[in-house]
Symmetry: C2
Subunit: 428 residues, 2 copies
């Protein structure tokens, strides 16, 4: 992509009301734009990163047998009345059609998927089933803050699983934990599997996936030496207490919740009469699990935990482009080339960059090429660090004299001169 053509260039001035670091960086670097409190447009760079996260999620969900569907945003009021949540869920957006129908805007989809599955399931032979969607959720959040970390409108992968019994559910639940950790690790994040409140439906714990970060709204009490982790809200322990699992010393830190999974038992199955016939022909309620993962929030968490004073440092798999290509041409050389004198041993960096851009693109390497003509080299370098692609390649008369291009890995100080072939070897 040519940066000159890209919509959503870096912003020098951003609103002073923007508090969180990830929000500042995502807006400054041109990934998102705020339409209203908690409501964002994903600009081309942000959309690219978000799509990469979605593909990682999709691959992991498919690998454990998930089938992708898309459920509606508009939910009939009666479905929410049937579970008692029309009145009890305070963040529910409620909507009335001028033609009389009343809807909830889906903040989660148990009210839709449970009656859906009830239509298609008859026998134990039809189970287990794992269904997921990556879809827009709407919640009437009183505090829409921290940018894409807590929005009124946001993206979420929600999966629902359906089982004949608790044991089968427990075994799948563990598979989801592993898949989630795999997703977060590909996003450059280390998430703690944290015991949290099971909500109103169960006395058991639910599990939150918490990423330690000063921008977090939760507090995790955890053991640095083992896997023990509890949300402060439910923990009987505090920092410096001995770990109940390994006797190490517990710590407490702010953390961002990037996922949350629940054993729903038969709560919704009972509400919607979701049953199956077992081997002996007896009617039994289906056991359900539900597994949430916020994809747009994940972008915020990644940036909170992957940046420096210059800008974002994207994990390779999430970066909108792998390489940020910049040519720095000196006026003197441009002049000489124009006057066509004494240039036999001089290459024009801008021309070399143009050729390399086409070359890399043909090799399927995702390149953001800053081809702007009216921008100073200094500004281009600042923008590259702010946008935060994993590699920056500078082509200048100096680098060409040294035999190649100057390659810097984002987040590292040292650069090295590489040839075209060495560059391809690094990037492919």
């Amino acid at each position: 992509m040519r940066y000159s053509k890209l919509f959503g260039k870096t912003q020098k001035q951003i609103s002073k009301e923007i508090e969180s670091k990830s929000h500042q960086l995502l807006v400054k670097a041109g990934f998102v734009d705020q339409l209203a409190a908690g409501i964002y447009t994903w600009l081309p760079l942000g959309k690219k990163s978000l799509s990469k996260i979605d593909e990682i999620i999709r691959t992991q969900m498919n690998a454990i047998g998930g089938q992708e569907i898309t459920m509606p945003i508009l939910h009939p009021k009666k479905n929410w009345v049937q579970t008692g949540r029309w009145d009890s869920v305070d963040i529910l957006f409620k909507l009335k059609s001028t033609h009389g129908a009343q809807y909830a805007l889906g903040p989660t989809h148990e009210e839709v998927i449970t009656p859906l599955v009830a239509k298609y399931i008859n026998s134990y032979k039809d189970l287990p089933i794992f269904l997921y969607q990556i879809q827009t959720k709407l919640r009437d959040e009183p505090r829409a803050k921290s940018g894409v970390i807590r929005g009124r409108e946001f993206g979420m992968k929600d999966m629902y699983s359906f089982h004949t019994d608790q044991k089968d559910l427990a075994s799948f639940y563990q598979k989801v934990i592993d898949a989630y950790l795999n997703i977060f690790s590909q996003c450059g994040l280390e998430a703690k599997v944290t015991e949290a409140s099971g909500g109103e439906f169960t006395k058991k714990y639910s599990h939150e996936f918490l990423v330690i970060s000063p921008a977090g709204e939760d507090t995790v009490i955890y053991c640095p030496n083992c896997t023990f982790a509890q949300n402060k809200e439910i923990s009987k322990f505090k920092a410096t207490d001995p770990c109940p699992k390994c006797s190490g010393e517990l710590a407490a830190d702010k953390a961002i919740e990037v996922g949350n999974i629940f054993d729903l038992e038969t709560k919704f199955s009972k509400d919607f009469n979701l049953t199956y016939l077992d081997k002996s022909g007896k009617k039994e309620y289906v056991y359900m699990g539900c597994y949430g993962l916020g994809d747009t929030r994940l972008v915020g968490a990644i940036v909170e935990n992957n940046h420096d004073e210059l800008g974002i440092i994207w994990p390779e798999k999430i970066a909108p482009y792998k390489l940020h290509l910049i040519s720095i041409s000196s006026r003197k050389i441009d002049q000489k080339i124009r006057e066509n004198k004494n240039t036999s041993n001089l290459e024009n960096p801008a021309k070399v960059a143009e050729d390399l851009y086409k070359d890399l693109t043909l090799n399927n390497i995702e390149v953001l090429f800053d081809d702007r003509k009216d921008t100073t080299p200094g500004q281009k370098l600042v923008d590259a660090d702010l946008i935060g692609c994993p590699y920056k390649l500078v082509i200048s008369q100096k680098s060409l004299s040294a035999g190649g291009f100057e390659l810097t890995k984002r987040g590292q100080n040292e650069s090295k001169i590489v040839t075209r072939d060495q560059l391809l070897e690094t990037l492919l």
Copy 2:
């Protein structure tokens, strides 16, 4: 995919209220499920076809320079007040937060994209820009009927273009027409580029893309011999009139609108003060075009125009799977194989099908394998025709004796016996 595991199997009984043919077939074959009037869940088969359409659209939009973004569903009331459309658009869903904010649910996105672009555009050097999204739209339709062809919640690709002048807009507008025709042709549809009302903003025509179909809500007056086509609503002509372009005889037919493109001139630029500085430093309003294409509606139009009495006939690029694989085992052979007698020259069709399924999958061929054990061969064949994958492959003792597998192209009567290698040659 093993059909035994697929969620959303064929339905024998469907609601008698379902009138349109595409709706009946999509529900019966397990592609969509109706949650409420005009509101649908896309089941795994439907989601697969829809994703293929979206990828075709994406490729074509990117090829003409489109950049993908995602804009919100929740639009602040003030944006719609600013264009005067808060009160004038009757299908607008209006929503009030318990925290005071008022929103429209986006039925289209001029109210969001125009102020967005105004933030980022300064000079003629920043233009033209082409932005699109594939996103959920919400409209408070009084008549939500014909299944996915007219929904209250539906998918749409909407693109918006921004230009320095009318000439540049006109040239891009033509590129979009070509890209749209390319998309529809890949979807197995022939669309007529039809002059239609320009709406409230302009005296010029807009252009609708109409697909002739008895299920259509529009009527197109067109010439079978040339490209003349007008929506009946604006046409001065009627069927049997002489064509004003070529003197042929005009025809009139019902048609489904699958796309609609508008020259918006400077209507929204003026509302949101979207200006640029021209070469002489003078402030000018930006010219805008807008280009809609309903992806979920397209699924309905494809099925309306591609089915027979047995079921759907998917165009190859839109089919959820390329091949529907069925093994028919005879009880006698099963018995002999089980008793392990006299089987030296007999192959077990079920075993051959299992091996072929794995073989084809490794060759990246999308196969729907009906591996159900408690379903009759007759039912499997009926389901295959209903679901409508482009190829059906039957493995039976009879086909194996004849040297291979029985391949039928959906919509054709003749089948032929093919070997594994001939099959791969056909499918790859």
